[in-house]
């Protein structure tokens, strides 16, 4: 298979009940996968397992490297895991405060990952930061402002720029539009839609917003009680849901 990241039998339980169990999942380049499910369904646990922020109790995680080799991430050294997370992967957090450095400028936030990978030329770093501010529709005249001087929606776009600057192959997003005003949400969704179709990277988004999933995702996974209960092409799962829970979930969405 051509999957970039594959999980097999991934299990992590807390207190023997919450968590996720026996998850098989494949993330492909150029494909946006959304995990939907209610609070406590295990979707965040799964996200954390896949993004190496949690170790599984059982199961394996395989990654296809640039040269086509398949590596078992459970056996990879901590150095290798950290290098992956810093260069080839990105992680956009629900709350931009958790994903940004609060005491350095917008520009420094964007170039931090480049510097961590050895880039040192100040002028080039600044140019790259300005270029990315433009791409995420932020006023590049504000490159020296601190994150707290930006609105919530702008901070979220800053966080996205900060993650994409190293040209990652895989991007994880945890509820990227939660807590934003609808007009700000629309702008962010538009940006994400454009970037995902241009970049051809694999993206995993955890969301409880079916509208976000319908707009962005190619493939949908529905989680409940720690298991994937339904999966398929996004519009098929939403228009012809098979499981009782998925039918309930879809019929609970307010029509516009």
């Amino acid at each position: 298979m051509t999957a970039l990241l594959s999980g097999r039998g991934l299990t992590r339980m807390f207190d023997g009940k919450n968590g996720c169990a026996q998850i098989d999942i494949d993330l492909h380049p150029g494909e946006v996968t959304c995990i939907v499910g209610e609070s406590g369904s295990g979707k965040t646990t799964l996200l954390n397992l896949l993004s190496l922020q949690l170790r599984p109790d059982a199961g394996s995680l395989y990654y296809r490297t640039d040269d086509g080799a398949r590596i078992d991430l459970g056996l990879a050294s901590e150095i290798d895991r950290r290098r992956l997370m810093r260069t080839e992967w990105g992680f956009v957090r629900q709350n931009p405060r958790d994903g940004l450095l609060r005491d350095v400028s917008a520009g420094a936030n964007i170039s931090e990952r480049l510097m961590a990978n050895g880039a040192r030329h100040y002028g080039a770093l600044r140019d790259t930061a300005i270029d990315w501010m433009r791409k995420v529709e932020l006023d590049h005249g504000r490159v020296d402002d601190l994150p707290r001087d930006f609105s919530g929606g702008m901070q979220q776009r800053l966080q996205i720029a900060r993650n994409l600057v190293t040209g990652p192959r895989l991007l994880f997003m945890d509820e990227p539009t939660a807590g934003l005003d609808v007009s700000v949400q629309a702008r962010l969704l538009d940006l994400l839609r454009t970037l995902t179709s241009q970049l051809g990277i694999a993206i995993l988004i955890v969301t409880h917003d079916i509208g976000v999933a319908r707009l962005l995702a190619h493939r949908l996974l529905v989680m409940r009680r720690g298991r994937i209960i339904e999966t398929g092409l996004t519009d098929q799962v939403l228009d012809d849901p098979q499981q009782p829970y998925t039918q309930m979930l879809v019929s609970s969405v307010l029509p516009v």
Partner: protein
């Protein structure tokens, strides 16, 4: 040697006759509605047919006969309960939609199947012209070229130019439907599925849409549609395929 024979036999079994674009065989679809003590509704029962290049088949039958359901099963939007749907694809040969991976269906929609649904699904912040152009852009056509082609279609469908830059969410029903038609036609897909493309159009606009459909048919596109408006149906269809309530 044994493997080779097996491969040949299997391929031959799957291959469609040269001009067959869609093969539907023994297709049934039922819905189980779990909220209503697992009520089972059968929409299609053992439907079989073939659609060839240059044909326009009109699905007929009363409401609830499963006409839209059939189109959606072909498009991969509904899961078939049993039976198969096979599609001829220029790049991949014969693709079986039933049981296909989401990626295969996405590829099929990009390259081969155009679908005009009854309602437009607008995308926040995306203007009408860009929305119409996007299936071509996805095929790798340069944005400027795709936008020009979109402009031609919008002009032909009599959408006022001052609307082109606006997101169509606030357009009238008839305008949204014409945007949807332009979007469905722009990529010149070899297969077109049309779900009541003229439902909310006046006579003049229906005539324009019929003309566009006929042009496609004459170019060899395989078309299957639902046309409640008899005048449109008589103009575009080469044959009728009646469905009875299952």
């Amino acid at each position: 040697m044994l493997t080779m024979q097996f491969d040949v036999a299997e391929t031959a079994g799957n291959r469609l006759a040269p001009d067959v674009m869609i093969d539907v065989s023994g297709l049934s679809k039922s819905f189980t509605i779990h909220a209503q003590s697992a009520t089972r509704i059968t929409a299609l029962r053992a439907v079989s047919f073939q659609l060839r290049a240059g044909e326009c088949v009109a699905l007929t039958g009363p409401s609830g006969a499963g006409k839209s359901t059939l189109l959606r099963c072909i498009y991969g939007n509904y899961l078939a309960t049993c039976g198969t749907v096979s599609i001829r694809d220029q790049k991949r040969g014969t693709v079986t939609v039933t049981g296909a991976d989401p990626r295969e269906i996405i590829a099929l929609r990009k390259d081969t199947i155009g679908y005009v649904s009854q309602f437009l699904r607008a995308i926040p912040r995306v203007g009408a012209q860009a929305l119409v152009a996007s299936p071509l852009v996805e095929l790798g056509v340069k944005e400027a070229v795709a936008l020009r082609r979109a402009a031609e279609l919008l002009e032909r469908l009599a959408i006022p130019q001052k609307l082109w830059a606006l997101p169509p969410a606030t357009f009238s029903g008839g305008e949204q439907q014409r945007i949807n038609i332009a979007r469905g036609l722009i990529a010149d897909h070899p297969i077109l599925l049309l779900d009541e493309p003229t439902a909310s159009l006046d006579a003049a606009n229906s005539a324009i849409v019929s003309e566009l459909i006929l042009e496609r048919r004459n170019k060899g596109t395989a078309i299957m549609g639902i046309f409640h408006d008899e005048e449109t149906r008589d103009r575009v269809a080469t044959r009728l395929f009646p469905l009875q309530a299952a």
